[in-house]
């Protein structure tokens, strides 16, 4: 029997040597004259163990990691003889970090070959769509609504209500748009699922299409993700060939097709109306709402626009029923959230779990603290527009409302950990700088306020009239918060104000120093 070796083709694994490993395994197998089949998968999301390679055994897939190219010969021997190895992690499914998770969306990611429609189907793929086809629009809407799924891009708007609005709209054409412009630092779940289980995203979008009566979909992927673009394009071709895109999907009367569009490096295009402008071939200027995209979206037509993770949650909900999804979670945050642990963290990666886990559990227990070994001082949750949380707030449960109550947001579920060497003045300035560079320019508080914000924070850093300038920054933040159309200008104040509030000591010289100076 062929030895079957699984090596990720996920960008994070490739960036630390997975491609070189694949070549090395092929070479050593040829040298040893052993028949080996190498299957390139997505990533399981245990990023600190990447490249993680697996071999099929009678007990299940046994993992090794991190495996460098130099490790390959000895790892290969261990695989062939089922013998011990310092990099051997045991059966992959039994690794505690993986076993503790509730993988509903990421169940197949890292397991299957993302290029193979057969593999996807063999692992339960397209069961959701098959059920959806038998249910019809109204019953699908009931399921999606009952699941409690809320927009995973960060805004948390109930997906069922959005879909229903589009389903009820009358128009000659409607569109499904997938927002894969995952620009937030510390987030990579969209990238991972597009690279590791692209058919899942297609299935989710197709389901949306048949529900609301749209026959065309676009997935707008950022240009910084060339591997994801390639994976989605390959999957679309395979799905079309397999009868899952195009006319008469899965032998039904429904038609749906989709294409990939690539962004061009503008962060603001992750905002849904800016993204629609960009898809239409224009500058990514934010639109005022209303009208909502559900009524006047792409090319002025009713449009469902959802994040990758929202579409990716749909197949499970349809296949297993709304209740199976809604049984997880807390309060109004139902189901699971793929959380991304990043930055200065010992065990970083993708951790999908039910809402309700606390920030402290995520950072200290699951993440294992910092990789530098220094104490955790601050964590930024939700990307460049998310608040910095100190240890004192580590009891905050991961839940849309709980984070909002503490002037933060969960955003797209990214958590970036900083150790005690962080200078929060620098982070506050960066937040304003980033906003200044990426502002689309439509709203004055965002366009000009961000530049004034950088200048004023610099004055604080230089010790110029610190108290007055701090008051000015706070005032400016309030203007941006309430005077901007979209989250870029509106939420940039979150990292700035949270840095000021929770890490005041970085901005104001200690009293003893003041006395000495006088």
């Amino acid at each position: 029997m062929n030895m079957r070796i699984f090596i990720p083709r996920d960008a994070a694994a490739v960036a630390v040597g997975a491609d070189e490993n694949a070549v090395a395994f092929e070479q050593i197998a040829a040298k040893r004259g052993l028949p080996v089949e190498i299957i390139r998968t997505g990533s399981r999301g245990l990023c600190w163990l990447e490249p993680m390679v697996e071999v099929a055994t009678l007990k299940g897939r046994v993992a090794y990691g991190p495996v460098s190219a130099e490790d390959v010969p000895s790892v290969f021997e261990s695989m062939a003889s089922n013998g011990p190895h310092p990099r051997r992690l045991g059966v992959a499914d039994e690794i505690p970090w993986l076993k503790r998770q509730t993988r509903l969306t990421f169940a197949r990611c890292g397991v299957i070959d993302p290029r193979s429609l057969e593999d996807y189907r063999a692992h339960g793929g397209y069961k959701g769509l098959e059920r959806a086809l038998s249910l019809g629009s109204d019953a699908i809407l009931d399921e999606v609504t009952a699941s409690g799924l809320r927009g995973r891009g960060g805004a948390g708007f109930p997906t069922g209500i959005k879909w229903k609005t589009v389903a009820q709209a009358k128009a000659d054409r409607k569109f499904i748009v997938c927002n894969a412009d995952e620009g937030d630092s510390g987030t990579f779940a969209d990238r991972m699922i597009m690279e590791g289980d692209p058919f899942l995203v297609i299935e989710g979008m197709t389901t949306a299409g048949i529900t609301v009566g749209a026959t065309k979909g676009y997935i707008y992927i950022r240009s910084e993700y060339p591997h994801a673009v390639e994976a989605m394009n390959a999957a679309i071709v395979a799905a079309r060939r397999g009868g899952y895109l195009g006319d008469k999907i899965g032998g039904s009367t429904y038609s749906f097709d989709m294409e990939v569009r690539v962004g061009a490096g503008a962060y603001v295009c992750g905002e849904e109306t800016s993204l629609l402008e960009s898809l239409e071939g224009r500058r990514g200027l934010v639109r005022a709402k209303p009208p909502l995209p559900a009524h006047h979206g792409l090319f002025g037509k009713p449009t469902v626009i959802n994040n990758v993770l929202s579409f990716a949650a749909i197949p499970f909900i349809l296949a297993e029923g709304a209740k199976a999804y809604a049984d997880f979670g807390m309060g109004r945050s139902r189901g699971t959230m793929p959380i991304q642990l990043a930055g200065n963290i010992r065990q970083g990666g993708l951790f999908e779990t039910a809402f309700g886990v606390t920030l402290g559990e995520l950072v200290d227990d699951i993440g294992g603290g910092t990789f530098t070994g220094r104490p955790v001082r601050a964590v930024q949750v939700g990307g460049p527009l998310g608040a910095y949380f100190p240890r004192a707030l580590f009891d905050t449960p991961f839940d849309y409302e709980a984070f909002a109550a503490r002037d933060g947001l969960i955003g797209h579920g990214g958590i970036v950990v900083f150790d005690d060497s962080v200078d929060m003045r620098k982070q506050a300035r960066f937040a304003m700088e980033f906003c200044a560079v990426e502002s689309c320019g439509k709203c004055t508080p965002c366009r000009i306020g961000s530049t004034r914000g950088v200048e004023t924070i610099e004055k604080i850093i230089n010790g110029e009239r610190v108290a007055e300038n701090l008051a000015l920054v706070e005032d400016l933040c309030n203007t941006m918060k309430f005077g901007s159309l979209c989250a870029l200008g509106g939420f940039t104040p979150y990292p700035v104000l949270s840095a000021l509030k929770h890490f005041r000591e970085d901005f104001v010289p200690a009293p003893t120093t003041l006395q000495a100076a006088e």
Binding site: A11, A12, V14, A15, V16, D19, E20, V23, A24, C47, W48, A69, E182, G183, D184, S185, G186, T187, F188, D190, R191, S223, E224, H227, R261, V262, G263, A264, G265, A266, Y267, S278, L279, E280, G281, R282, R283, G284, F299, Q340, L341, A342, G343, N344, I345, G348, L350, F371, Q380, P384, G414, V416, V417, F418, D419, Q427, F430, F434, E438, C440
Partner: protein, 162 residues
């Protein structure tokens, strides 16, 4: 064994440019698609192509110029022979990216966003490659590199300068 991604571009040619534009012009909202295709072929979007795109899409030159200048990706002149992008977003900052960026600037003698005098290397910031749990990261042309440290970035710079 590292795959080679050294880019090569064709010189600007009006007929070829017109072909590329015509190939994509029928798509809905084709402006970005065309600009990407032109840059892929020529390594940048030549000034002369802007009015051609405008005509093909029945837009004004100003509109196409506006789109072209809005997006960070599009270049108005060719980049250096190799393009080294350093991720400068928060996760990479938290993992020591600031010091590595400063090191790269010092080694190459240019600040982020510029090309070396010999046109060998363009050094650019990028805001998030999505490799945030294997940070800091970089991309040399199409090739991704994670878990950067001084040794790895030095090797990357040496490769870019070759």
């Amino acid at each position: 064994m590292t795959a080679v991604y050294e880019p090569s571009y064709e010189p600007w040619d009006q007929t070829r440019g017109a072909e590329i534009i015509a190939e994509h012009a029928k798509q809905e909202g084709a402006t970005l698609v065309i600009l990407h295709a032109l840059q892929e072929a020529f390594g940048y979007v030549p000034e002369a192509a802007i009015p051609m795109v405008a005509q093909a899409l029945n837009l004004s030159r100003a509109e196409v110029h506006g789109v072209f200048t809005f997006y960070h990706d599009f270049r108005h002149k060719p980049a250096g022979h190799r393009v080294l992008k350093l991720c400068r977003a928060e996760a990479c900052q938290a993992a020591g990216g600031d010091a590595l960026a400063a090191r790269a600037e010092a080694k190459l003698g240019v600040s982020l966003g510029n090309t070396t005098a010999d046109d060998r290397v363009t050094l650019e910031p990028i805001y998030c490659l999505g490799l945030c749990a294997t940070a800091p990261s970089a991309m040399l042309d199409g090739r991704l590199v994670g878990r950067l440290d001084e040794k790895r970035i030095d090797a990357l710079i040496a490769e870019a300068q070759r």
